[in-house]
């Protein structure tokens, strides 16, 4: 068990599964509005970052590639957030 958890990919997989369950649950309870949107975007950000760092193995890659991919995640989340914020006005 301890050895299994030493592998960052295994830890990432567990967190990704749980995070997906949380997003699904927020949908089930009909979560809507600013707090729900921010929460779901944060979850997507954490998940995306785990895929980038532990699945794509960019944790040990040249900084430029980490910045490009994590930057994509921040850009996409920000654009979605702005669009939803406009819709709430």
């Amino acid at each position: 068990m301890i050895n299994t958890l030493k592998n960052p990919a295994n830890r990432a997989w567990i967190v990704l599964m749980i995070a997906t369950g949380i997003t699904w649950y927020l949908g089930e309870i009909g979560a809507a509005g600013t707090a729900a949107i921010v929460a779901m975007l944060l979850i997507a950000f954490v998940k995306g970052r785990l895929v980038i760092l532990d699945f794509m193995e960019l944790r040990a890659a040249p900084l430029m590639w980490r910045v490009l991919l994590e930057g994509w995640l921040i850009l996409v989340s920000s654009l979605i957030l702005i669009a939803y914020w406009i819709s709430l006005k």
Binding site: W24, L41, I43, V76, I86
Partner: protein
């Protein structure tokens, strides 16, 4: 920059897995999806009630199940790359195969979902929400298929002993593409199925 470690075998050397070209390709794909995702979000801002109404007709359970399938498929392919680094030949091809099967599961679930929607007479021209839902998910669907073609090639080559501790480049490149397919769905699922 790090100029001390010149030996590429040393672990602390900054290293991009796979070929540089695949990463430029991945970046181009991600930019295209960033445009689609923000187009959806801004189109929704102009039509909130309609998007909220029709979003409720989507099957969130199937969307979440597909997220789990892609994440698990991605995880298997990481295990395949790790197996290559320790020269565990059997484990490389077995994990690629499991990753491929997860992709097959995703496509099956998606076809069931599409069958229900198309069976109800929904098409690209039904309304703006469905136009986005169908085109975004179908564009992603095509990427899952391409990812599975890549995995099939990797599986065949791994069976021929093409990958190992000193030759994992091709495998890492294909794996990076497969993870991108997963990454895109991680944004697409909450955006189209859940956020309101």
């Amino acid at each position: 920059m790090n100029t001390i470690a010149l030996d590429p075998a040393e672990h602390h050397v900054k290293r991009l897995p796979g070929d540089l070209a695949i990463w430029f390709f991945i970046l181009a794909e991600m930019v295209a999806f960033a445009v689609f995702f923000s187009s959806y979000a801004f189109a929704r801002a102009k039509n909130v009630e309609m998007f909220n109404l029709y979003q409720q007709t989507l099957d969130r359970n199937l969307g979440a199940l597909n997220t789990l399938l892609l994440i698990t498929g991605s995880w298997f392919v990481v295990l395949a790359v790790q197996a290559a680094h320790r020269d565990d030949q059997k484990s490389i091809s077995r994990n690629i195969l499991f990753g491929f099967l997860c992709g097959g599961g995703f496509l099956t679930v998606k076809v069931i979902e599409y069958a229900a929607k198309f069976g109800a007479g929904i098409s690209l021209s039904t309304n703006t929400f469905y136009m986005f839902y169908i085109s975004l998910t179908f564009f992603h669907f095509m990427h899952v298929i391409l990812g599975m073609v890549i995995l099939a090639v990797l599986w065949k080559q791994s069976r021929d002993g093409a990958y190992g501790a000193h030759n994992a480049h091709g495998l890492e490149s294909g794996a990076a593409y497969w993870h991108m397919v997963d990454l895109l769905w991680i944004v697409l699922f909450p955006l189209v199925y859940v956020m309101r």
